[in-house]
Amino acid sequence: MFKITTEVITGAEVREAVEGPDAGAVVLFLGTVRNNTDGRAVKGLEYEAYPPMAEKKMAEIAQEVSEKWGVDRVAMIHRVGKLEIGEVSVAVAVASPHRKDGFEACKYAMDRLKQIVPIWKREVWADGEAEWVKPDAVFFDAPGMGKTD
């Protein structure tokens, strides 16, 4: 399962998508909306995505996980639209025979999602202002325009 959704995410979707009799571990990561950024109060977040490309890139990340850990059971779902404090924005699940591979693969998948999956976050501050979030420079390792010429 690689999906962009407007629906509430519980985590059950991705868990059910990866679980199976050959799994000895299911690692589930849920990203949730925090009530502040660097101390400034946040009212909520808005996410926008480029769904077909985002889902294609998620599938590519699963392929990378398969090549690195031999783990084929990976599921990722990301919500778009307006989210309130505490709601789940993203869920990643990895099922593996042993927990070590599962933990590593889940962390890798989430890190890669933040690098290459076209999704954008807008912070809506408690004081009413809103702005698109600028990421850390460290995440620019995909072939960007700045890397050409």
Binding site: G31, T32, A49, M53, S89, K114, Q115, P143
Partner: protein
């Protein structure tokens, strides 16, 4: 030839539209689209260091040649997930 160009997040906001059809000369590249956008939005050049583009859902460089019906997108720095 005609291509579809999609704008997301800050690009959507700055250009005040989410997509458009663009008629381009044969042999046009992504650079051709950027030059055209620069006329309307000169500040777009400031985003070049961090912005990416895609053609048919795949990241592409500005010298990528375009074909009839291609779906192009301006991809501002991605910020999905959560800050942990």
């Amino acid at each position: 030839m005609n291509v579809t160009v999609k704008y997301f997040a800050v690009c959507h906001e700055m250009l005040d539209r989410s997509e458009e059809e663009m008629e381009l000369p044969e042999g046009a590249t992504l650079k051709t689209i950027l030059k055209r956008l620069e006329e309307e939005w000169p500040e777009i050049a400031e985003f070049y260091e961090v912005m990416q583009m895609s053609v048919n859902w795949e990241y592409a460089t500005e010298n990528t040649e375009l074909a009839e019906g291609d779906e192009v997108a301006l991809i501002p720095p991605v910020t999905g997930g959560c800050d942990v």
